[in-house]
């Protein structure tokens, strides 16, 4: 039977404020599933024209699918969010690119005609589920030297990337990090971030973290406005003595969730839903697990090739800042300046935080806002590195583009 692939659009995206993982973090006593449930509910509230029964799939990502991140979250969170029982769901995992993969998976289904509208998102509560919780790596990885021992420790892979690209110095990464904090603070001051945040009620019973009782999370907790180069220079390099990677030039350990509505363009238009971005192409690529931070390079190459575009066609970049060195490795690859104004205009994960499997949709939500404000830009990308040596890139077209 002949079929036509359908255009896929990003309708809307929201996220929780991101928190710091750990006993003093805002979400220490908040369940992971509740975080993502509240995002789904906000999407429905923001799009009252969407009959929830029209949602064909709920794809939710989490890296550690245990406890409140387990139990086929896509299904259980749908029920908890009050979606009709007829709406199915599943869980998905590609570590840091979980939410991104949720989006591309449902996008594939929409293009194929299996879905009209889907929810895609992710959650990671790294306080309740520290990286590596319950993992059981096959001993052959080490005995057969399939990967280096450092491959499982993301900070070490970042140090490895510095080794590979010695021209990316600690000075450059720290400078990048300071700019990320500055841009994020400015984006907050300009009100660019808050509109897509879902306030989350947070309970605290231990006075160690501050006032007890119920509170409300309305802003990202990890932000460190006013960060200086001097301040960063003094930080420890926990992954290697005299190394380069610090808590200051990397994303922290965070809690948070995101969710987006992805739809076929014709259905979105028919229902009067917003069309914020149009999907052009996406690609995932594998690299050596020891230097997973380089993953976005081949992923972007692949995606551009599929789209028939060149890097010069890309007017806006949302690059996940797992590590500054990983961002700079991509920019260097394409000869883009460290402070290029097209890159991470609102700052990035170094400032906001990076709750692993949730981050992909944060990049998209921010790119969507930038598209709206910058109709002269036609294409943008969201890209991120992924543990165990992968990268993912999604190329988006700006529906507000004014050019021809």
């Amino acid at each position: 039977m002949p079929r036509t692939a359908r255009d896929v659009v990003f309708v809307d995206g929201v996220r929780t404020p991101f928190g710091k993982a750990g006993p003093k973090g805002i979400y220490h006593e908040t369940r992971a599933d509740d975080l993502v449930v509240k995002c789904i509910r906000e999407l429905l509230r923001r799009n009252p024209d969407l009959d929830p029964a029209r949602i064909d799939e709920v794809a939710l990502a989490a890296t550690t699918q245990i406890g409140d991140q387990g139990l086929t979250l896509g299904r259980t969170a749908g029920i908890l969010a009050g979606l009709p029982q007829s709406v199915p769901g599943f869980s998905i995992d590609r570590m840091c690119a979980g939410a991104m993969t949720a989006v591309t998976s449902v996008a594939g289904g929409i293009a194929f005609g299996a879905y009209d509208i889907a929810v895609a998102g992710g959650v990671e509560h790294m306080g309740r589920h520290p990286m590596g919780e319950g993992v059981d790596p096959n001993p052959r990885f080490v005995s057969e030297k399939l990967v280096d021992q450092s491959a499982l420790f993301m900070g070490m892979t970042a140090e490895n990337l510095h080794d590979r690209l010695p021209h990316i110095t600690k000075q450059r990464t720290d400078e990048y990090a300071v700019r990320s904090q500055e841009k994020a603070a400015k984006a907050y001051a300009d009100g660019k971030i808050q509109a897509d945040l879902v306030p989350i009620s947070v309970r605290r019973t231990s006075p160690d973290g501050g006032e007890t009782g119920w509170g409300l999370a309305t802003a990202d907790e990890p932000m460190r406005p006013g960060t200086t180069l001097d301040g960063l220079a003094s930080l420890k390099t926990p992954f290697r003595p005299h190394g380069r990677v610090t808590a200051g030039n990397a994303a922290g350990l965070n809690d948070g969730a995101t969710a987006s509505l992805i739809a076929s363009e014709d259905v979105a238009r028919e229902l009067g839903l917003p069309v914020k971005m149009r999907l052009v192409a996406y690609a995932f690529a594998g690299v050596e697990p020891e230097v997973m931070g380089i993953g976005p390079v081949p992923a972007t190459e692949k995606a551009l090739a599929k789209a028939g575009l060149s890097i010069d066609d890309i007017g806006l970049f949302e690059i996940n800042e797992a590590f500054a060195v990983q961002v700079l490795s991509l920019l260097d690859h394409y000869g883009i300046a460290d402070d290029d104004p097209r890159v991470n205009q609102y700052g990035g994960a170094i400032a906001f935080g990076h709750p692993l499997a949730s981050s992909g949709v944060r990049l998209m939500t921010q790119l969507a806002r930038q598209f709206e404000e910058q109709p002269h830009v036609r294409y943008g990308i969201t890209t991120m590195c992924v543990g165990f040596g992968m990268g993912g890139t999604v190329i988006w077209e700006n529906p507000h583009w004014e050019g021809k």
């Binding site: 009050g82 306030p199 019973t205 007890t212 409300l216």
Partner: protein, 709 residues
């Protein structure tokens, strides 16, 4: 230190065992840039199975929290104050244990004033206040929210009530005064009087909103977030809160009248709480809150010192605690699994039992009887009742299919009961018949099967005496209507073993019944007391007192129905049968009334006709009555009846029919619907001096269901 703090400190010293609620103050930035907000969380630090309550120290904590936010509000540091609870619980009101220890009227006044003084401060803050009813809210929990400027409620809230009148109090921390001023007197009467007296009926979140108690309602999933967003919009003026205007005209008076009518129908003037609450509601019409609060303080203190409240709390604890952990039940690990139930007989009682077992145990239930027609009728009854449940939406089609599939009938006991674990007989009340039934059943059931009898007055030991395994026979006495009255008297025969008894208690628990362990004594507990009670009424009628006088004599007790209406409900024939059993056992105290026998013989179903809408003595019954010429006054009748009952209960306790007077009361409350304000009965007999007069001693020590010495 403020006078309120002093007051509460004094009260706290009287109640060292208080489970203390903290009032945490946390600050947050409201959405939409609406400003800094102080949110007070009421939390006793325990999980949701231990709901948050207010004792004096808890009130002092809230007082201190208000000190803090009052200062911040006055200084302009915050734009509003909210109050909410821990997960699933808002707050469930005063700690009843704290009331039980109070001995002096002035201490009781302090409790009322303490609550008022603290809660009132919320209304007096320089900024608007918001209550977020996130979960269960009762009594003082509801009232703390009523003092706030605005309220939101969760759609997931399962229980919301002002249960004070149910216990024997008034909503005395603002409830009686504020609620009618917020939602109007008629709705307030529904909440404060009607629901309370209707077995403490609870409201759900949607009803709280629909009644106008809450200004906004949000789903449970993100209730607090949405409440705070709403708060921000109210404070910024983008949301306007509109409430229905309260009708302060005649409607208010009519509402109070309706309340009195409801109270009369339930307690017949016998318990003061509802009437005190209505007096305050009536007074609240003038909108003078201060005057209302003063009246609440007085009413609260009077009632706290009353026997009715102490009895109410005692009764509440019996039902909630003793009813769930029956005294004298063997270790539950001895209970055998019950995977199939047999019911001998397919009459109305047997069919009701089959329905109950199928619904609660969800195991196959087989009815047997002597012919196919009876079996079909019994099974048909059960299937019809299941269809009714389906029609009302109480169960879905799958469940209806399942339940119908579970209930079947058979003429072949061997096939029906060969793999049953629990067989109950509900056949004709005659020892010979029952012995024969049990012999037949024993021949076909597994070695370990329990044999239960629903007899209301025959000896369980005698019924078991001819069996090979009498140790597996247990009495399992339900009360009519089976689906409504919670009591199940579990009777231990002389040879009943612990395994049979433990199984009976386990089954009772699955059936959601209140089980009380009873010795194998004639008519057990409820029927023996009721028969003695009714017997004395019948005796005075037989001796010459007019029926009407005899009936009115016990009205001041506030029983759910008059003795002769009860007789009608039970059925005169059954009443006669039980009185015959008891007369045979205790001829000195029980006798068979010739008039009752005549009524039964004439085939009458009761003493009354209802042609006029009210009960009136049936002329045909009146014609049957042969009365003497001794006419007693109501007081004389009442004294005679209560003396008789006090004597009977005393004898039952001496015989060891139950472990303690508490079990007698629990039986009367859950098996006969006797009211909380009597505490069942023994607290009333104690406080009226009847126990002392008849038996020379109280049933319960001073301080149990009464003000401590």
């Amino acid at each position: 230190m403020s006078t309120t703090a002093d007051l509460l400190k004094g009260a706290a010293e009287l109640f060292p065992d208080e489970v203390v609620t903290q009032a945490h103050v946390r600050h947050l930035d409201l959405p939409q840039g609406a400003g800094k907000f102080a949110l007070i969380t009421l939390d006793n630090g325990l999980d949701h199975t231990k709901p948050t309550t207010f004792g004096p120290q808890s009130l002092a904590n809230l007082d201190a929290a208000i000190d803090q936010v009052e200062k911040e509000a006055a200084e302009g540091g915050i734009v509003g104050v909210g109050v909410t609870g821990k997960p699933f619980i808002f707050a469930v009101g005063a700690d009843l244990k704290g009331l039980e220890v109070l001995k002096r009227h002035e201490d009781a006044v302090a409790i009322g004033k303490g609550g008022h003084d603290v809660f009132k401060r919320l209304a007096a803050l320089a900024v608007p206040t918001f209550a977020y009813y996130n979960g269960a809210a009762m009594g003082g929990g509801v009232e703390v929210g009523l003092h706030c400027t605005y309220r939101t409620v969760s759609r997931a809230l399962p229980a919301f009530s002002l249960p004070e009148v149910f216990l024997g109090l008034v909503p005395g921390w603002g409830g009686c005064t504020l609620l009618p001023n917020i939602i109007g007197a008629d709705r307030a009467v529904s909440v404060i009087i009607e629901n309370s007296l209707n077995q403490n009926k609870q409201l759900k979140g949607q009803q709280v909103f629909d009644l106008g108690i809450a200004d906004a309602i949000f789903d449970g999933a993100d209730f607090l977030e949405q409440s705070l967003i709403w708060t921000a919009s109210v404070l910024k003026g983008t949301t306007e809160v509109v409430r229905a205007e309260v009708d302060r005209g005649e409607a208010w008076d009519r509402a109070v009248e309706r309340g009195r009518f409801i109270a009369d129908g339930k307690v017949h003037g016998a318990a003061p709480a509802a009437y005190r609450a209505l007096d305050i509601i009536a007074q609240a019409k003038n909108g003078d809150l201060r005057q209302g609060f003063d009246a609440e303080d007085q009413a609260l203190a009077d009632l706290i010192m009353s026997g009715e409240l102490r009895s109410g709390i005692y009764a509440f604890n019996l039902v909630q605690k003793r009813g769930k952990r029956p005294a004298g039940a063997p270790d539950k690990s001895l209970a055998r699994p019950v995977t199939k139930v047999g019911v001998v007989g397919a009459g109305l009682m047997a069919s009701q039992l089959a329905l109950l077992f199928a619904r609660r145990l969800e195991v196959p239930v087989v009815l047997t009887d002597i012919d196919q027609e009876r079996v079909d009728k019994g099974v048909g009854y059960v299937h019809g009742e299941i269809d009714k449940l389906l029609g009302k939406g109480r169960i879905n089609q799958d469940k209806a299919n399942r339940l119908k599939g579970l209930v079947s009938g058979s003429l072949d006991k061997a096939a029906a009961f060969g793999d049953a674990d629990f067989v109950i007989e509900a056949v004709f009340e005659e020892m010979g018949v029952k012995q024969q039934v049990f012999a037949e059943v024993e021949a076909v059931v597994p070695e370990t099967a329990i044999l239960a009898t629903n007899t209301s007055s025959l000896s369980v030991s005698e019924m078991a005496s001819k069996l090979k395994h009498p140790e597996r026979v247990v009495g399992f006495h339900f009360f009519n209507p089976v689906a409504i009255l919670p009591l199940l008297e579990i009777v231990r025969g002389e040879r009943t073993d612990d395994a049979a008894l433990a199984t009976a208690f386990a089954v009772a628990k699955s059936l959601k019944k209140t089980a009380v362990l009873v010795k194998d004594a004639p008519a057990f507990v409820v029927n023996r007391i009721l028969t003695r009670f009714m017997g004395e009424i019948q005796n005075v009628i037989d001796e010459g007192t007019p029926v009407e006088t005899a009936e009115k004599a016990v009205e001041p007790l506030g029983l759910p129905m008059s003795p002769l209406v009860l007789l009608e409900l039970v059925g005169p024939a059954i009443g006669l049968h039980v009185s015959e059993t008891l007369a045979a056992a205790f001829p000195d105290r029980f006798k068979v009334s010739p008039n009752l026998a005549a009524v039964v013989k004439a085939g009458k179903r009761g003493f009354y006709v209802y042609d006029s809408g009210k009960p009136e003595l049936d002329p045909e019954v009146a014609a049957l009555l042969v009365q003497g010429d001794t006419v007693l006054t109501e007081e004389q009748v009442r004294a005679r009846v209560l003396d008789a009952v006090a004597q009977e209960i005393g004898l039952m306790l001496d015989e060891g029919v139950v472990a303690e007077a508490q079990d007698i009361d629990l039986c009367l409350i859950t098996g006969a619907g006797w009211p909380f304000h009597l505490g069942g009965l023994t607290p009333y007999l104690d406080r009226e001096g009847i126990s002392e007069r008849v038996n020379g001693k109280r049933f319960l020590p001073q301080g149990v269901a009464s003000v401590p010495a």
